[in-house]
Amino acid sequence: MAKVLMDGNSAIGEAAIRAGCQCYFGYPITPQNELPEYMAAHLSRKKGCTFIQAESEVAAISMVHGASLAGVRTMTSSSSPGISLKQEGISYLAASELAAVIVNMSRGGPALGSIAASQSDYFQSTRGGGHGDYRTIVLGPSSVQELADLTHRAFDLADKYRIPVIILGDGMLGQMKEPVEFKHEVPEELPVRSNALRGAKGRPSRIVKTLVSDPVELEELNWSLFRKYQLIKKEEVTYETFMIEDAKLIVVAFGIAARIAKGAIKRARANGLEVGLLRPITLWPFPSEKVQELAKRTKFFLTFEMNMGQMIEDVQLALEGKGEVFFYGRPGGVIPTPSEVLRVVSRLYYQKGLK
């Protein structure tokens, strides 16, 4: 189909419907309200589909839990404070090995914070977020087109691994309008999940549970989850590189910050500075091997985030001391400009004697 001009939140809604999402459960919070509003307008009228404005984020994720148990594609969305409330349900989804898509159009924190775009939920998203030893797949889009594409991928990954998948956007991505092309049509048939509960007709009854009183059995559940996570780490890492071939200094940034960084890098190149970008698209699993590979060619990395420094820990862990990592970040919902990042990049470049 042709490109249409659409805000990021609505684009997720359209992409989700085209991915076969049948049940959406949400709760109003800025800056993601266009998404539940889109679903109220478009999903609720589709045959066999449901939109509910729940009484709370806790209820919304629990409804996702119920719909996922029944075997359909389901999603919820929120922004940072609401995502904190959803962590109980995400932990249950992870332990029960249930598919779900959770969108976080994150905003400045901690607590009520601000409604401006921020990336301060990186830790919460990539470390599990709720209680217990689990991970979720975390996707970090950086454009409206990628929001649409990754929404589709999120549903596929959730089904493939029976895992909650988080789309970590931010208030800016959700609100801004860009041309977007929807490349998929609503699938006629979706994979049937063998753990779906739809009544025990013609088969033995099934139990989906997370209470495992015997520590040895619970240990085995944790090992089995761990093996799944190892497989995901092996199979699903994605990233983008930009002007990286000859780069002496590599900026590592994700989401909207990576687009700001690209602007800075283009200007740095115009000034004759050899700077490149590594943009992780899967934030978990993190592209650690790519960082290690790049460290064979350069020792200088600048992590740029719209927070106080969270992804920098993954860069440091990947480097294992084989490179120097510097940081520039603005927390609280302040959006840095490309020229601001250019100043940081240039200063570091000259200080380290790269020119």
Partner: protein, 251 residues
């Protein structure tokens, strides 16, 4: 010889873990009998709560999935909306339904979700060792009201079923008890009507069952049965609280 009493097919051959004199096993059996009699095994999905009854999934031979503490009504909502052909049964205790899950319960009722909640009220948090529940009676001693529940400090017992009856979406709510053969028969009748309400797609149905917990009440099973009559029913009177189904009783 004619067989007059047997294990319901919907109840697995697994011994109950419940304490002597506990009401859960009676309620389980009644539900299983009705799942058999109403031929619901093929489409029933049970949702046990956090608490003593979490192990219900070991006993019922139907599809079962646990909910997080208090979230039964929300999980049931998601399940029923995703798969409306299912008969969704959420089994919840008083702490689960009337404290941590109050919001989920009230809003599911208000939306008129076509689900059934079996609400077991034993006036105490049993699995955690006998703490005060929202339904604990005034002056009742629990481990967190060691001097008795005080209306000034802890408020009065909450009448959640009466609150739910105020919502338009709740169409059938009845309070029963399982402390005598007559009351057990009435409970079965109420659960049957609640199941039928869901089958007929009329709206939200709930049966609150006053149920003995001799261990945490520190009573003998017989004393516990008597305490329900003498004390609990004064605060929580038995009978139909709301019925807008327009249907006669099922039997």
């Amino acid at each position: 010889m004619k067989k007059v009493y047997t294990r319901p097919e919907s109840l697995k051959r697994v011994p109950f873990h419940y304490c002597p004199g506990c009401g859960h096993s009676i309620v389980h059996r009644l539900m299983a009998e009705l799942i058999d009699e109403m031929k619901l095994r093929d489409k029933a999905i049970g949702i046990p709560p956090c608490g003593c009854a979490v192990f219900a999934y070991h006993y019922f031979d139907v599809d079962m999935a646990e909910a997080a503490h208090g979230r039964g009504a929300a999980v049931a909502t998601g399940m029923k909306r995703a798969f409306p052909e299912a008969i969704v049964l959420s089994y919840q205790g008083d702490g689960d339904l009337a404290a941590i899950g109050t919001a989920e319960t009230i809003h599911a009722a208000n939306r008129g979700e076509k689900i059934t909640i079996i609400f077991v009220n034993n006036a105490v948090y049993a699995m955690t060792g006998g703490q005060m529940a929202p339904t604990t009676l005034l002056a009742q001693v629990t481990t967190t009201t060691p001097y008795g529940r005080d209306v000034v400090m802890e408020g009065a017992p909450i009448k959640i079923s009466e609150m739910l009856a105020l919502t338009k979406g709740a169409v059938y709510i009845e309070r029963t008890a399982v402390n005598s053969p007559a009351n057990i028969r009435k409970t079965k009748k109420a659960i049957r009507k609640a199941f039928q309400t869901q089958i007929d797609g009329l709206g939200f149905s709930l049966v609150e069952i006053l149920s003995p917990c001799p261990v945490n009440w520190k009573m003998s099973p017989l004393e516990a049965w008597q305490w329900i009559d003498k004390e609990m029913t004064k605060e929580f009177p038995l009978g139909v609280i709301k019925d807008t189904t327009g249907k006669e009783d099922a039997d």
